[in-house]
Amino acid sequence: MYDEYPSVKIRLRVDGKHYEVYVKPYERLVDVLRYKLGIVSVKEGCGRGECGSCVVLMNGELVPSCLILAIRANGSEITTVAGLAPEGKIHAVQKALLDVHAIQCGFCIPGVALAIKWLLDKNPNPSDEEIKEVLSGHYCRCGSYLRFIKAVKTASKYIREGRIYFDIKEVIS
């Protein structure tokens, strides 16, 4: 019965690294990322595109990886929260989330961070309404919503000041 669903080889770039992997036609991008490639900076919370935790940037757009067939990702450029900054550094968005103490259980953060990054790329100084619109599809059961809004503003300030990356060592101390 395995042969009934022949595997297909796909090539994709995730957070700057090239991958070649065999996928089944019915496998979802989130399955391939998490369980075949071991990329855990993408989470799965609902499998129905409702919670926002599986969101990735695919060719520059925010999409729920739990609703993308893996074969569609062939040739695509994917960014997860881990790819927002080079090794040893974090992005202004991540720094802002830390600054405002937005992290509690952290499960929603991979999706939220990408949504904020995408928003600021399009709209460097968004209003509260615009922020809420973009974050409306990300559930945070720990209640960090107000902090996300603050984080967008903090990150916006950093970016406008030209401070895009921060050393992780600076942050940990």
């Binding site: 019965m1 900076s41 799965e44 991540q94 103490h101 953060i109 922020i131 559930y139 209640g143």
Partner: protein, 798 residues
């Protein structure tokens, strides 16, 4: 003369000694924030699955009906499906087929009958999820259907609280009543006769779902010693170990449970860990291969415990001046198909049932009953949010009858230092009684009186505004549920870092960070020196479950003990090098010096090195056993909890009268937490509780149909608040100092949700000038309320 135990003496000494703080009370970034924001490393249970290539997948075949006898179960076609390795049924269980947390009523895999839609008939162990699911479709089951009960009033009478005749769900127990509790204080009949006003009403609340964003997961690996290691989403690793060992028929020591950080818990991962862990472990044990199980969101909805729905009748009597004279309550909790934590929830609800007030005469009866709904168990608040909704609505009704401001009525009756609770427990200064201060601050923060007056004038037009208040109390830790103890280990490593080990877990609440701040304060070492190890039953001490808002209070007290004793020894070692007395030693790592001669400094590493040479051990085990709680079964008198967290909540709402939409504009919370240890943590709790409480008040409800099937088992039809629903949240703190808490601290995990729905309901009631007796307060309910009052002035009304 009572000999005070050492662990208690140490905590009390630390409480009285420390006046100024370096770490305690500060807002410091939690230990795991950076790894969570970079996202690279595996953090949650399911993140580790890819390390186990070729792990088999375990899928649960569930019941077709909510109540039926299994006449025949044929899994032969399932076993034969290509890609299936094994099908496990009840008869394959080597140990005892039971995962009940309090009562042994819950089989892991059913054999005789199904009691709710999530009951498991068999486990399919296959190469992947898809094959398992396809194979599962090929099961053949013959059922003999039984009547499905979804209404607890079909099991019990609300007036008499007598069990009604019905086809029993748990016939093996002879009754579908799981637990009964009562309070009898004074003489309520006389009290009501003396009352000038009496208000009586019926209140109902709904099933609430935790909806943590991380679904339940487990990975089980068979070990060479015949045991099994399970990586598991559980708030109670030692309870899970017990349950898994029981199911497998293994000694506890051969079962190792590792609890990584979780993506939310809120009580929902309290006993489901037993279930999902046992499933994975059983499959691993019987196949000899690593297995994994990750619940889908839909499965999560139907297979872990919910918040108990409540049906309650309350009767309050008061004098003209507002003094409460009598409270009578009949409370029914629907615990669904299995007891789970039901008996304890019913007890806590009973203890808190009259609210944080002086009540001279009380008669409370609580019953928890089985139905064929999804089972109910632990959920943040644990029976308290339900009764507070009822009690705080009653207080507002009384205020209205008396023509008194609702906050004034509360000031008249709230418990103060020196008062006796309805159980006869003396609220001495030692317990930290800051309710009055909390209410006062909430009133000031919110400008209560002026808004109450102003919004009352807003009673025409298409928009109404309201402001409502609630006060609350929440007993810390587990009371008389079980022996209440906790423990931590501190191990100073040779490089100066400190390994912190505890069996308490984190699902986002960050309480463990508070424990680190406590250790930091006592040892004189920055929090960055500490490394928190994962809760691992093979490495950490049993600290009791991560429940009941006990981590700070109990884990903290254990941490105080460990750090205190370790500090004594470090002082000894340092005094050896520095030459001053041990009590003169000041540690401000990396520096160590004598207070009397601060210019002579040695390093933290010097001290550690010297300790090794002197043969002074640098590990310490901290243990804390709470003072015994007490509870008389017949009268409900005693000292049920070691202390109470108090609080006041005020909510402001705006209502669109045409659609019935309720918008919460602002929530003010002031909690008496004894002492703020972890500033970041208490702020998180206030916000998290407010938003979950808002969901409970306005939009969340898990709905069953008449056949016991869940109709809204996903996140678009079960509504949890989004960013757009979040109000302004303004908070303040009262630090009343609990003498037996670490630096005086009390818990906040649950209290931060307990009063929210009550305050919102009172605000809505104020805005509409109508009674609110049911949660959730959906737009349709507002519409029906207004219609009843014929207050619709919309020109398009029907």
């Amino acid at each position: 003369m009572n000999q005070i135990p050492e662990h208690l003496r140490i905590v009390e000494e630390v409480f009285s000694k420390y006046r100024r703080f370096v770490y305690v009370g500060k807002k410091l970034l939690r230990w795991d924030a950076v790894s969570k924001v970079t996202g690279r490393a595996p953090i949650f249970t399911a993140d580790f699955v890819s390390r186990y290539r070729d792990a088999l997948y375990v899928y649960s075949i569930r019941a077709k009906y909510a109540h039926a006898i299994i006449k025949k179960l044929d899994v032969s076609e399932v076993s034969q499906y290509p890609g299936v390795v094994k099908v496990i049924t009840a008869k394959d269980i080597p140990g005892i087929n039971d995962v009940g947390y309090v009562v042994p009523d819950q089989p892991l895999i059913v054999d005789r009958k199904v009691r709710y839609i999530g009951d498991v008939l068999a486990l399919v162990v296959a190469r992947d999820y898809y094959i398992a699911r396809e194979a599962a479709e090929r099961v053949h089951v013959e059922y003999e259907k039984l009547p499905v009960i979804t209404n607890p009033l079909d099991v019990i009478d609300l007036k008499t609280l007598d069990e009604k005749k019905h086809v029993l769900i748990h016939e093996e127990r002879g009754s579908d009543v799981v637990a009964r509790y009562r309070i009898r204080r004074g003489d309520v009949e006389r009290g009501f006769r003396e009352a000038d006003v009496i208000v009586e009403n019926e209140y109902r609340t709904q099933f609430q779902e935790h909806a943590y964003i991380e679904p339940e997961a487990a990975i089980a690996v068979p070990e060479s010693d015949g045991g099994v290691t399970v990586i598991l989403t559980t708030q109670c690793p030692f309870e899970a170990r017990k349950a898994i060992a029981r199911v497998l028929g293994l000694p506890q020591g051969l079962v190792r449970v590792i609890a990584p950080l979780m993506g939310g818990g809120f009580g929902g991962k309290e006993d489901v860990g037993n279930v999902i862990g046992a499933k994975a472990a059983l499959a691993a044990y019987l196949t000899g291969q690593p297995t994994t199980i990750i619940y889908t969101r839909e499965e999560s909805f139907i297979s872990h415990s919910k918040r108990h729905p409540m049906i309650a009748r309350y009767r309050h009597g008061a004098k003209k001046d507002g003094t409460l004279v009598a409270v009578e309550a009949k409370i029914i909790l629907d615990t669904g198909a299995y007891a789970s934590l039901g008996p304890f929830v019913a007890w806590r609800a009973t203890v808190h049932s009259v609210g944080p007030y002086r009540v001279p005469n009380a008669k409370v009866d609580t019953v928890a009953v089985y139905t064929n709904n999804v089972y109910a168990g632990a959920f943040r608040g644990f029976g308290n949010p339900q009764v507070h909704f009822a009690v705080e609505r009653q207080m507002d009704l009384l205020a209205e009858e008396l023509g008194m401001d609702p906050v004034d009525l509360r000031f008249k009756n709230i418990l103060r230092e020196g008062d006796e609770t309805v159980h006869g427990q003396l609220l001495s200064k030692d317990l930290g009684v800051g309710l009055e201060e909390a209410l006062r601050r909430a009133v000031n923060l919110s400008n209560w009186y002026e808004k109450r007056r102003k919004y009352s004038l807003h009673s025409k037009g298409l928009v109404r505004k309201g402001i409502g208040a609630a006060v609350l109390w929440h007993g810390n830790s587990i009371g008389v549920e079980a022996a209440d103890y906790s423990s931590v280990s501190l191990i100073v490593n040779s490089d100066g870092t400190i390994t912190f080990r505890t069996g308490l877990t984190d699902f986002g609440q960050g309480a463990l960070w508070g424990l680190i701040l406590i250790a930091s304060e006592i040892l004189g070492v920055p929090p960055s020196y500490f490394i928190i190890e994962r809760a691992d039953t093979s490495a950490v001490p049993d600290s009791g479950p991560t429940v009941a808002s006990r981590t700070t209070v109990m884990g903290g007290a254990a941490t105080v003990n460990a750090a205190y004793k370790l500090r004594q020894r470090l002082n000894e070692v340092a005094s050896h090098i520095l030459g001053c007395s041990p009590s003169d030693v000041e540690i401000r790592a990396p520096d160590v010096f004598c207070r009397s001669n601060p210019l002579r400094r040695i390093s933290w590493r010097d001290v550690i090195e010297e300790a090794h040479w002197l043969g002074i051990p640098l590990q310490e085990f901290g243990y804390y056993r709470a003072p015994s709680a007490s509870w008389d079964e017949d009268t409900g008198q005693g000292s049920p909890y070691i202390t109470y967290t108090f609080g006041a909540v005020i909510a402001e709402v705006t209502i669109d009268v045409e659609t019935g939409e309720v918008t919460v504009d602002r929530i003010y919370t002031v909690y008496d937490v004894g002492k703020v240890i972890n500033k970041e943590g208490v702020e998180h709790q206030a916000e998290c509780g407010a938003i979950q409480g808002l969901g409970y008040a306005l939009m969340e409800e898990l709905i069953h149909d008449a056949e016991g099937r869940v109709l809204n088992a996903n996140l678009s039809t079960y509504y949890i608040p989004t960013v757009a629903d979040t109000p302004e949240i303004i908070y303040d703190w009262v630090e009343s100092g609990y003498k037996q808490g670490p630096f005086g601290a009390k818990g906040l995990g649950e209290p931060s949700l307990v009063g929210i729905a009550a305050a919102i309901a009172n605000a809505v009631s104020h805005a509409l000038k109508a009674e609110i007796n049911e949660l959730p307060i959906t737009p349709e309910k507002v519409y029906l309320t207004l219609k009843k009052l014929s207050k619709l002035r919309n020109d398009v009304r029907m």
